[in-house]
């Protein structure tokens, strides 16, 4: 029997704190994008936008705190602002996230104060570019490490982007469901639910596509993906992510939308709440799985 072939001392350098950073960061930028889209649609969805605008900086700051807790030398964090490495995605990411947090905070403040609409809109559009970049960066820094087979897929950054949108939207909807008495919120929830359903469907498609692609790729990629599909991580993958995190909320959302028809959401907010919770759980598990299983590659 061969002795374990994994790494040295710490077999998986990245553990739960990195997952929390990715989850909160993705959620935050997704909420920001949701807020900008909602306000671009109509003034009616003011409350939805406000919720998204407030969640965004709080979540991303929460993610950064988790990241700092993960560093072995957190007090040196500020050096990353001037010690740059053009080939390191992490190096870019620090600046992009900082600029985004500043924009998101201003955006949130302008929403709360309900003033300077044109400045707010401009901030929204500029911030959206950074939000998009951050969501992609979450996946890209894994892919460009390029020595862990599970991450060697061009779909990984795309999956992180779509997952950021679904978890962000889900977080906004979850909170909005509790404020459904306010004007415009019910319509906003109904509209956002349609979008959420579409993005959940897209995420499901991308995750399954990624699995199929890697299962037919190089030996390392195949072995890595087999861990998820039939191996040690298969329970979390199939039950936690595919069924609970994506398939069930997708089906519920479609069924709910069918019941809702146009506009009226009925008296119950159960559907958005349940769907949101499932999507958030699934989004967290997806990141946990990709980060953890990705580091479980044989090293020889």
């Amino acid at each position: 029997m061969n002795l374990p072939l994994l790494g040295n001392g710490l077999e998986r350098p990245w553990e739960i704190l990195v997952v929390i950073d990715l989850f909160l960061g993705g959620l935050g930028v997704g909420a920001f994008l949701a807020a900008v889209c909602a306000s671009a649609y109509s003034k009616e969805y003011k409350t939805i936008s406000k919720i998204g605008a407030i969640i965004a900086p709080l979540a991303v700051i929460g993610g950064l705190i988790s990241l700092l807790a993960e560093l072995n030398q957190p007090f040196r964090f500020y050096t990353t602002y001037f010690r740059l490495n053009a080939t390191s995605v992490l190096s870019w990411g620090v600046w992009i996230q900082t600029i985004f947090i500043i924009i998101a905070l201003l955006y949130a403040i302008l929403w709360i104060m309900d003033s300077n609409e044109s400045t707010r809109k401009a901030l929204g559009y500029i911030g959206s570019i950074f939000a998009f970049a951050i969501a992609v960066y979450h996946g890209l820094f894994l892919t460009t490490a390029s020595t862990r087979d599970l991450w060697e897929s061009a779909l990984i950054p795309v999956i992180f982007l779509v997952s950021a949108i679904t978890t962000g939207l889900a977080a906004v909807l979850l909170i909005a469901s509790f404020l459904s008495k306010s004007s415009g919120v019910k319509e906003g929830i109904s509209k956002a639910s349609k979008h959420l359903a579409a993005f959940i469907g897209l995420e499901l498609f991308l995750v399954l596509l990624n699995a199929i692609v890697l299962l037919n790729a190089s030996v390392g990629a195949r072995d890595a993906m087999r861990m998820l599909v039939v191996g040690d991580f298969s329970f979390m993958f199939w039950i936690g992510i595919i069924i609970i995190g994506l398939l069930i909320p997708f089906v519920i959302e479609l069924f709910g939308l069918y019941l809702i028809q146009d506009g009226g959401v009925g008296t119950t907010m159960i559907i958005p709440v349940v769907v949101s919770v499932l999507v958030l759980v699934g989004g967290f598990l997806l990141r946990y799985l990709i980060v953890t299983a990705g580091q479980t590659t044989p090293l020889l």
Binding site: N8, P13, N85, V89, L90, L299
Partner: protein, 188 residues
């Protein structure tokens, strides 16, 4: 005059798994308990009664295109002109990106210094003109060290005269640690 490129050749036909290299390195570099700059892995091949056990010494490969250097956000992981890859302890923030990026799992977080660390090819010895500690102590003379760009060096001659392989060549890191007698795939 070509630039230096320090390399190591591991002749697995001679390795007996005594771990002297492992211990010498620990002692020379004061490596704390629980982490290793170099160690020896074991493999068994075949089914009983035709089984054999093989030994594979492992250390930082000081790659020509190191993934760790590419991903380090602060440049704490850097490569010297002569090919030795080092960690600048003052710059490292402990993000562990290098550890996730290294395909060989040879990096670790130093428990006391709380920064990334790894085999340094005993750079303090090499700069003084002597070979790394593991090479010095190997009783089977399975470890050979030198400048592979110098055609008169023992490593260059061994690389030229023997079929050598490296670990995970498909990762594009171009390691500077070459193995003689390693089969293509160690794992089932």
């Amino acid at each position: 005059m070509a630039e230096k490129r320090y390399a190591m050749v591991l002749d697995l036909r001679r390795c007996i798994g005594c771990h002297a290299c492992h211990v010498a390195c620990k002692s020379e570099n004061e490596v704390p308990l629980g982490v290793f700059r170099t160690h020896v892995r074991y493999y068994e091949r075949g089914e009983y009664p035709d089984t054999r056990r093989y030994f594979l010494p492992n250390l930082c490969n000081h790659c020509k295109h190191p993934a760790c250097v590419r991903v380090c956000p602060t440049g704490a992981s850097w490569k010297r002109e002569d090919g030795i890859v080092l960690v600048d302890y003052d710059k490292c923030i402990g993000c562990k990106y290098c550890m996730a990026a290294c395909p060989y799992g040879v990096r670790f977080i130093h428990p006391e210094k709380q920064v990334a660390d790894k085999c340094s090819f005993c750079v303090h010895r090499v700069d003084a003109g002597i070979v790394p500690s593991c090479v010095n102590t190997c009783i089977g003379r399975a470890r050979i060290f030198g400048d592979m760009n110098d055609p008169k060096s023992e490593v260059a001659k061994l690389i030229a005269a023997n079929p050598v392989t490296v670990l995970k060549p498909e990762k594009g890191t171009y390691p500077s640690v070459f193995y003689i007698g390693k089969s293509v795939k160690e794992v089932e």
